[in-house]
Symmetry: C2
DNA sequence: CCGATTTCAGGATCACTGATATCT
DNA sequence: CAGATATCAGTGGTCCTGAAATCG
């Protein structure tokens, strides 16, 4: 229908040398995946980072913003806006830390817990959609390979 | 050394539910990969799209900009700037198409061919660095899985 | 007149930087 | 004082939209 947009180019025309470039494959796969996740979340007024924060609070309990940044991978500077949005929606709570006046303690609300359940279902469906062309075994294998890469590069070099 | 930047967070602190999320793994892996590729290319004054254009011209011959966009996945609007940079460096050539005055014919120069060889070596080294934690078989497997995903999602839905 | 090609101006989003005020 | 925390303003890159100018 619309062939000038949604780039990635015409797959048939892409030279083999480019098609087989692993870093390029990784980039494009992530691009499609990110786009789909972002779209699905946008339909219910959420963003990727929202989910990350809600999960972190649900699974590891209340936390300061600095710790939330560590848990989710959200940059400290950007976490502020994310928490503003979540508090505006009544999904989390920012209260001053009793013993350390610099910190906030971020807590999940009952609404936040319900919201997380919904996002969980939504993201499970999106995952199924994105990885539909892979078998169950292939999906597990992909997760294994990506986990190896991520842990290797996320781990700070020894020192 | 600097633990507040280069996010991805503290890997140990990331909740298991997030760590195992496939779309997140894909995003982060691509992020690390892209960052490394971009850095290495920047050291020699190049960018990712430069390489894509040079490869396309070397492997599939001269082309119009519209066709180059299809071959490389570069958006038509952004291709202009990329070609400006490449022509400024004397790596490609823009000449008017003899039979169709709307088009340009983009050609690889001798310098462009030499440049491509250098970028090939550089990117091969970067690929080795990025995928170092994977065995040879694992890398092939990863390529296979990613290719399945990319072709599936790049191929326009039947119609 | 419709469609294709090149070009430019600008938007939206994202990771990141840098600075500031506050507090330990 | 050094160091940590939360916040805000702003940069640079990328993907994308929209429109103009030119031409088939």
């Amino acid at each position: 229908v619309n062939d000038t947009t949604r780039h990635g180019g015409n797959p048939q025309a892409v030279p083999e040398r480019l098609r087989n470039q692993r870093t390029r494959l990784l980039s494009f796969a992530a691009m499609y995946s990110d786009r789909m996740v972002t779209e699905r979340l946008a339909e219910v007024g959420a963003r990727k980072w929202h989910y990350a924060v809600l999960v972190s609070l649900a699974d590891n309990g209340p936390a300061s913003q600095a710790e939330l940044s560590d848990r989710t991978g959200i940059h400290r500077s950007d976490l502020v806006a994310v928490l503003n949005e979540l508090t505006d929606q009544g999904l989390v709570h920012r209260t001053p830390h009793p013993a350390d006046k610099r910190r906030n303690v971020v807590t999940l609300t009952a609404n936040g817990r319900r919201r997380l359940q919904r996002l969980d279902r939504l993201l499970a469906a999106t995952d199924a959609e994105i990885f539909a062309p892979l078998t169950t075994e292939d999906r597990a294998e992909l997760s294994r390979l990506l986990t190896t890469l991520v842990t290797h590069h996320a781990t700070p070099p020894p020192g």
